[in-house]
C-alpha cells in the first residue's frame, strides 16, 4: 500500500478495494492496531482531521514539495518515525519491558514452584480436599 497526502492506494494502484487474500498474523496485528486506534472516528471528518494533525501528513502537505506535486507521497520512513514515538506505543513498550524483567513470570527463570506459590497451592489443595 502507498500513502499520499490525499489518500491511499493498494499495491495495484487502485483506490478502495476489498481485501481478497488472507493476511498473516503480523498484518492482522497491524490492522488490529489501526482499528483500535482509529476505528472510532468517522471517515470523512474526524479521521481526516485527526490524521491531518499528525507529522507524516503535515510534513508533505506543508512542505515546498507539496506545491510541486499534486499529491505527494507520505513515505514509509515518516510513518515509521511517527508511530515509533507515539505516546501510547512508548508507554506500552515501557510496560512490556518492565514485565519482561520479571523473568520468574516471563522467562521460566527460578524454581517452577517458588516457596510462596508452593505454600499457597498446598493450602488451597488441602482446604478443598474432602476430609
Amino acid at each position: 500500500m502507498s500513502c499520499y497526502a490525499h489518500g491511499t492506494t493498494g499495491s495495484d494502484g487502485g483506490s478502495t478495494r476489498r481485501l481478497s487474500r488472507p493476511v498473516d498474523d503480523g498484518q492482522f496485528d497491524v490492522i488490529d492496531y489501526v482499528v483500535g486506534g482509529y476505528g472510532r472516528y468517522t471517515g470523512r471528518r474526524e479521521l481526516v482531521r485527526e490524521t491531518h494533525l499528525e507529522d507524516p501528513w503535515r510534513d508533505v502537505s506543508e512542505s515546498e514539495d507539496s506545491f510541486a506535486a499534486a499529491n505527494p507521497e507520505i513515505t514509509h520512513e515518516s510513518l515509521r518515525a511517527w508511530f515509533s514515538q507515539d505516546d501510547e506505543y512508548l508507554a506500552h513498550r515501557s510496560a512490556v519491558t518492565a514485565l519482561r524483567e520479571r523473568r520468574d513470570v516471563y522467562g521460566f527463570e527460578g524454581p517452577a514452584m517458588p516457596d510462596d506459590l508452593r505454600e499457597a497451592t498446598l493450602r488451597i489443595v488441602s482446604e478443598r480436599t474432602p476430609s
Binding site: D25, G26, F28, D29, D32, Y33, G36, G37, E88, Y89, H92, A95, V96, L99, R100, R102, D104, V105, Y106, G107, F108, P111, A112, M113, D116, L117, R118, A120, T121, L122, I124, V125, R128, T129
Partner: protein
Amino acid sequence: MTIRRLTAADRGALARFTCARPAEPWAEAVQETIRTDLADQLASGGVSAAGLFDDSGALRGVAAWRIYDVAPPVLCRGDIVAVTVRDRRKGYGRALKEAMIAEARAGGAVAVSSVVHRHNAAMILLNTALGAIVEEIPHDPDHVRCVIGPL
C-alpha cells in the same frame, strides 16, 4: 485443529507466534517469552509445551508448563496459555489449558498453579471456569495466582 507436544524443532513457528495487542502489555511480554525463550527451554528439557495447529499446520496457540517433583506432592506450574489475536474467543485457550491439566494429572500432579497478570481478564475468567481459586499475591501488585486443584 490439532494439539500436539511442541519441541525445539518448532523453533521457527514459535519465533513467529503473534498474540500481542496494543493495550495489553502482558500479552506482548508473553509473546516475547514464546518467541525468544521457549524453544531453548524445550531444548534443555526444563519446560513442556503443547501447540494448537490449524489444518494448514500453522501454530494458533501455545501452552507451556513445568512439573515440580522435587518434593511431594507433585505440582504443576502453568507458565503460558496464549492464542493468536485472530483466534481469541474461540475456545482454543480453554482447549490448551485442559491439555495442560491432563498432562499434569498424567504426571501425578495434584494441582496446576499459574501467575496471571491482574488485567488479563480473559485468562482469569478461564481459570475460574476450570475451577481455580484466584488470590492476590503479597508484594506483587501486577499479578494474581490461580490454583486449580485438587486434580
